[in-house]
Amino acid sequence: MPDAYRKTLIRQISQHAHSEIIGMQPEGNWISRAPSLKRKAILMAKVQDEAGHGLYLYSAAQTLGISRDEMTEQLIESRARYSSIFNYPTPTWADMGAIGWLVDGAAICNQVPLCRASYGPYGRAMVRICKEESFHQRQGFEILLELSQGTPEQHRMAQEAVDRWYWPSLMMFGPPDDESPNSAQSMAWKIKRFSNDELRQRFVGMLVPQAEVLGLTLPDPNLRWNEDAEQWDMSEIDWTEFHEVLAGRGPANAQRIQHRRDAHEQGAWVREAAAAYAEKQAARDRAAA
């Protein structure tokens, strides 16, 4: 395996793993306040699934010769990236719906092609993840549907969440094709099979009819199907904010890293205890043998 290819794979897989782990936070924030026990159970299971996805992906990256500890260090020292979308806060319950519908939706569009990625362990992890993600997306849709058809206040909450998350979710596909050098390289290596703009078009095409069912509006007055070009016309994306968030100046960048670092450091004595205990047990077994 060429070294550049291996490095790109590690970067991509660990970045994806980190995104799952950091992505637990914006939703984890609502577990304690979920408004019904059923929703609490669904949300808890979802955030727990994200931990599971992180685990598979770290394992896939480990097959390429990097340790989980190393990747964790990179994350908490801000030397590794994760999806910037998780640097936005989740001020209302409706964000649980919008994240499921829009963020998970965009993630699926990005990820489904990866299930056929040329590197086997990554591809296999992705098959499992994509299955669960589409389940999550449906749950997000359901949350929004319930809110949209609920009290006027609930409907407003749903619309505002969609307004908040629509543009950031479109940005998840990355910069336009003509400004995306990494992406071209990944396509050449068949790690990636569609361009950013292709995937973004596909995503919007999926959203439009669903928004209609939801009774919610996508916050782009210029959004319409262009028969001639056979694509969706849309307003130009304002990348300023995206670049701010990427540069670490999003609302919650600092909080996300602090949260992860605290969990890691406060758990150090527990991991040490487990290691020491395992070591003692092994020594005892050796002595008994």
Binding site: I21, M24, Q25, G28, I31, S32, R33, A34, P35, S36, L37, K38, R39, K40, A41, M44, A45, V47, Q48, A51, G52, G54, L55, Y58, W93, I143, E146, L147, G150, T151, E153, Q154, H259, D262, A263, Q266, G267, A268, W269, V270, R271, E272, A273, A274, A275, A276, Y277, K280
Partner: protein
């Protein structure tokens, strides 16, 4: 009957409050495997809580959510053990090992109840609780037998948590009226002591290591609505959204 409903409420509240506590760990556990394990336990307990609260509310026409979100603190029936804060990981494990060893005996006995619904709920729960107990026992052994620090923390955690044990096993008028339908709490104690005793022996922990001669068992009071100071803030957070939207569905 009203008595069975009240009894189901006690068990449902125990499970609900412990689940609420454990949910906090998701994204904060010492390792990813524990985010998942504690999340699993929280989910199982939430499942038990939903079944029990659903059953408790049937007679009075209240839903599981009516009971979880619209009762005030004095109407809750959970024992103090389940209200205890997460503390450090050792406190969560100490609470977990006592809670799961108790629940294991409880649900085992309850699974042969003459009340078919309670029996069915218990029969399902007992399998999951066996896993919870195993999880807590394994960690008790690891922490007690790990490093000097982890052992010291485990002993402090047991010292802090132990006073809330007795309340779980106290008979009262309700459980006496339900004799024959549900196990007397006190009848679960010998098996609990045996299990816990074996764990502590393996962990090389003596009772004197975690009992304080000057601090005995808390009189508690959760079964009759008298709660520890930890419950109020927990309920404030748990109920805030639902209460801001009366009549809404989610």
């Amino acid at each position: 009957s009203e008595d069975v409903a009240e009894y189901a409420l006690r068990l449902g509240d125990d499970a609900l409050i412990l689940s609420q506590r454990l949910g906090w760990w998701i994204s904060r556990a010492p390792e990813l495997e524990e985010d998942m394990a504690l999340g699993n336990i929280a989910l199982d307990l939430l499942g038990h809580a939903r079944s029990l609260l659903h059953y408790a509310g049937t007679a009075s026409g209240r839903s599981e959510d009516d009971l979880a979100y619209w009762r005030d603190e004095p109407e809750f029936r959970c024992a103090w053990l389940f209200q205890q804060p997460n503390g450090d990981f050792a406190h969560t494990i100490a609470r977990g090992v006592i809670a799961s060893a108790y629940m294991q005996e409880l649900y085992t006995a309850l699974s042969t109840s003459t009340d078919a619904t309670l029996a069915a709920i218990a029969a399902k729960a007992v399998k999951e609780v066996a896993y919870h107990r195993d999880h807590a026992v394994q960690w008790t052994l690891r922490l007690a037998g790990g490093t000097e620090e982890s052992r010291a923390r485990m002993l402090v955690a047991l010292t802090d948590t132990w006073p809330y044990t007795d309340e779980l096993f106290r008979d009262d008028a309700l459980t006496e009226r339900l004799a024959g339908v549900v196990p007397a709490p006190s009848s679960l104690r010998p098996a609990f002591d045996e299990v816990l005793g074996a764990v502590l022996a393996e962990a090389e922990i003596a009772e004197a290591d975690f009992t304080n001669r000057k601090i005995g068992q808390s009189s508690g009071g959760g079964r009759h609505g008298n709660h520890s100071t930890h419950l109020g803030p927990l309920l404030a957070e748990m109920q805030v959204l639902a209460r801001r939207h009366p009549g809404a569905t989610w």
